[in-house]
Every structure is written in C-alpha cells, then in structure tokens.
C-alpha cells in the first residue's frame, strides 16, 4: 500500500484524491471540453445571424406591440377548446394507464410476457413526442380536436403508466402478505392492500400530467390538431404580429391558471 501511495496519507499530508484519480478527473474535464468544441464546430452556425438577433428581437417586439384584442372572442373559444382537449385526454389516459401500470410493475405483473408488453407500451408511448403523435392522428382522424385528444392521450399513457408502475413497485409489502394469509384473492388484495397505498401517487401524477397536457395542447394546433395553436399558426402565417402577441399572452394566462388549479388540487387532495 505504502509503496503505491507515497506521501498520500502521512500524518501531515492529506488529499481527497490519489494522483491517479486526479488525472482521471482532469482527463474527464478535457474530454468534455473537446466534445463541446467538436459539437460547436460540426453544426453550421451562421454567426452573422446570431449577432444580428438582438436587433431582430427588438424589431419583432415592436411589431407585436400593442397586442390586438379584436379577435379575443375566438381566441378565448380556442383556449376553452384547449382546456377541454387536455382534460378529456388526461381522464381517458388515466383510465387506460391503470392496467398498463399494473402489468408493468415488477411486483404485480402476472407474468414475464405481460411485463414486457407493458414496458413496450410505456416505452413506445414515451419515445414519441406529442407533436408527432398529433401528426399521425391528424392523418387518421383528419384535422381537429379528436386528433388532439388522442395524441395527448397516447403520450400521457406512457408517463402515467410509468410513474404509477413505480408507485406500485414502492408499496409496503406487509399488508399484501397479511391479506394473502387471510385467503384473499389476487384482485381483492389489489383492491385493499395496493390501491389505498398508491392512491396519493395516483392523484399527484394525474394532476401533474393534466398540468403538462394543458401546455402541450397549446401547440397541437400548429399541426392542425385543434386548440389555440390553430389561431397562433394562422396569425403567424399572415404576419399578424399583434394578434400573435395576444395569443401568447392568453397562453401565458392559461399556464398560470393551470399552475394555480393544480397546486390547489394537490393541497386539497394530498
């Protein structure tokens, strides 16, 4: 030992890392810098545009001011539609995600095949972005609110299923054992020992997802899947910047509203 670490831990000398560890850390830092440099070099940045951006920003801001409220009634209607998309989609997704969570939790899954099916559903739902789901469903259902709801729902199943599945995996096994000893069936054990334990997580996750869905459904309209995004897209396409800023302000208000409602519900329920 002493021969490989001379002076390392003698009585008047102490260092957190050995020489070898220190070299590894410097090496790691150098490698990271190298990667960042390489990444910057390989993307095609047009630097003139980057330097020009503050002026462009000021220009755009000037054109957006003041916001134009003349179209407010239809903006508010679209916002209401957006809220409905988010809420309906979250509700359906919550129901659908329950069995998925059940089969993809290690401790409740009936067998390995079900476990892998459950995990496949979770991964495929999560790995596809809402916008891409929306593009897909606009092609299937045509443009409009239905495509939006289904898209949000498909993305939410993975999120809800994964977090609920993890909540199921973290339950205390002792009540389960007690009910097994009583001769209760599998389903009744789920009902009495598992459901009460995951209830708080269930509500927390559902509220969180509703909050996220509210924000996600504001952009659905960009691909024709209903909601406020439709109006936003239209305004951008016609360079109607005062209306764009009005829509953005409304979205901001919606997000704040969602935040307030979800934190109220969280406090109320948990």
């Amino acid at each position: 030992m002493m021969s490989t670490q001379p002076l390392q831990n003698t009585l008047d000398h102490w260092s957190r890392f050995t020489l070898r560890q220190r070299m590894m850390r410097y090496g790691g830092l150098a490698l990271t810098l190298l990667l960042v440099g390489w990444a910057l070099g390989s993307i095609d940045v047009i630097w003139e545009w980057v330097w020009d951006s503050p002026r462009q920003m000021g220009d755009l801001f000037g054109r957006m001011m003041p916001p134009d409220p003349s179209n407010l009634p239809s903006i508010l209607e679209a916002i209401w539609q957006t809220v409905n998309i988010a809420t309906l989609a979250t509700m359906i997704a919550v129901v659908v995600s329950l069995p998925v969570a059940y089969i993809s939790a290690q401790n409740t899954t009936p067998n390995r095949v079900a476990l892998w099916i459950g995990r496949f559903i979770l991964v495929s739902s999560r790995s596809v972005n809402t916008i891409i789901w929306a593009l897909l469903f606009v092609a299937i259902f045509g443009p409009g609110i239905v495509a939006g709801i289904v898209a949000i729902m498909f993305r939410s199943i993975g999120f809800l299923g994964k977090l609920l599945g993890e909540a199921i995996e973290e339950i205390d096994h002792k009540p389960v054992e007690a009910l097994e000893a009583c001769g209760a069936s599998r389903f009744k054990i789920v009902l009495y020992a598992i459901v009460p334990q995951v209830m708080p997580a269930f509500f927390a996750v559902a509220i969180l997802r509703w909050d996220i869905n509210l924000r996600e459904s504001t952009v659905l309209g960009l691909v024709g899947a209903g909601g406020i995004g439709m109006i936003l897209q239209g305004a951008i396409d016609t360079f109607n910047w005062p209306e764009v800023s009005m829509v953005l302000l409304t979205i901001l208000a919606l997000v704040v509203f969602g935040e307030v409602v979800s934190s109220y519900l969280r406090k109320k329920i948990l």
Binding site: E177, A178, L179, E180, C182, G183, A184, S185, Y192, A193
Partner: protein, 273 residues
Amino acid sequence: MRGRLALVRKTIMLKISKLTKRYGSGDPVLKELDLTVEGDQLTSVIGSSGAGKSTLLRCINRLVEPTSGSIDLNGTEFTTLNRRDLRAARRRIGMVFQGFNLIDRLTVMENVQSGRLGYISTWAALTRRYPRDDIRHAYELMERVGIAHYANKRADELSGGERQRVGVVRALMQRPEILLADEPTASLDPKTSEQIMSLLRDLASELKLPVIINIHNVTEAKEYSDRIVGMRYGRIIFDDLPAKLTTAEMDEIYAGVPAMDRAAVGAAAGAEA
C-alpha cells in the same frame, strides 16, 4: 370421510411432521421438524434470530413454501393443496404480525373486515357493503379488545398497541381454527406488550383457539404460555411446560449454532440472505 376424521381427532388441531424448508441449495432452515398443537393451548416458540421460528410459522399457511414434510390441520393436508384450495384453507388460519401489517390509509373497520376477504364477494369488498353478520361480529370483537370506538378512524392514527389489537381482530374475523402470531409484541413497549400477550392468552381460552406465538421475550413467554417450544438452528430442542425451562435449557437454546451444524452455517447464511 374428512368429517369423520375431524371428529376422531377432535382435540388434535395442527400436526406438523418432518417439515423441512431449504432456501436455495444451502443448509435447511427447518430440519425434519415435528410439532403438534392442540386444544386451546398457547404455545410460545422461542429461539435466537435465524433459528427458523418465522419460517416455521409461515410454512404452516404456506406464505413460505415448505420443501418437504406434512402440515395437517383438522384433516386437511396443507402441503398438497393447489392455489385455489390453499386460498380457501388459509381462511381457517389467523395470523398476527410483528409490524401489524395493517393498511394505513383504510379505516379500522375496513382493516378488520379485510379478514373476511376470503369469504365475501368482490363487489361487496369493492363497495364496502359488508354482510350484517360480519359487521356485528366485528363490533363484538372490537368491543372485546377495546377498539370499537375507533371503527371509523384511519389505522395510521392509532398507537402501536391499538394497531396490534386491530391486527388481532382482523385475524379473529376469519373465525380461524388456529391463530399464528409472529413476534406480535416485538414492536411494542413493555407494558403494551404484556397487554397484548394477556389478550392473546385470554382469547385462546375464550374461543377454544390454539395459539402459536413466536417470541423473543422469554420472561413473557414463560408467564403467558401453556407450553414452550425452544428452537435452535432448525430443530426443536425443548418442548415442555414453562416451569421446566431452566437456565441450563435457556443457555442451550440460545447457545448459537450447535457444533454438529457448524460446518454448514456459512452456506445457509448465504442462502438465507
């Protein structure tokens, strides 16, 4: 035929013979163990940690699957039951746990009624519409152990001793033929612990119910039991009246691993972990 058998064996309740439990490929935790419990006896099983007490109790209702041997409760051979029949048979064995194993977020009444889950319909369980007989029975038992006024409280609002009473009532709701208690007082303070022990003793004689208790506290075991079984390393090395448990016998029970088994200890410890 089963009925006649039960009649003949009227007083003999639980008969365990040549019970062996082996985890993995290590040394067995239970070694061809024989034990018969009958009548309204309160039997305490003592022994150091790892002696196999908990495994023994859990093998009886097959929460732990026995490797070999026989477990016979009033003519029903437990070791050969299929899953469905095992569920039905488990209703006849009540169990009380060290950690109470209650469902914290449910009310005391729901916890108590969960002892009837093996009997009632799924719909009744889901909607909490319990049969009238069960509700009456629950109130009687809760009254008996002094928790009736907590029926609508959440289980996690109760103290340790009260929680264990809920655990006891849940087990008794099954109208069991035998009661197993796995260190029921180990999480309780000394005074509460004595209350629970005397409750279990009284219930055993009131309900003509044999009770098997795993217990670490030898003083309590001697005070409250009709019979003491001492386990050491998977075998029963003492089985007699509490008065017969001398210091010498105690030393023997708690002496650690016997010389004859010492070589195998490493392997068994590895398997158990």
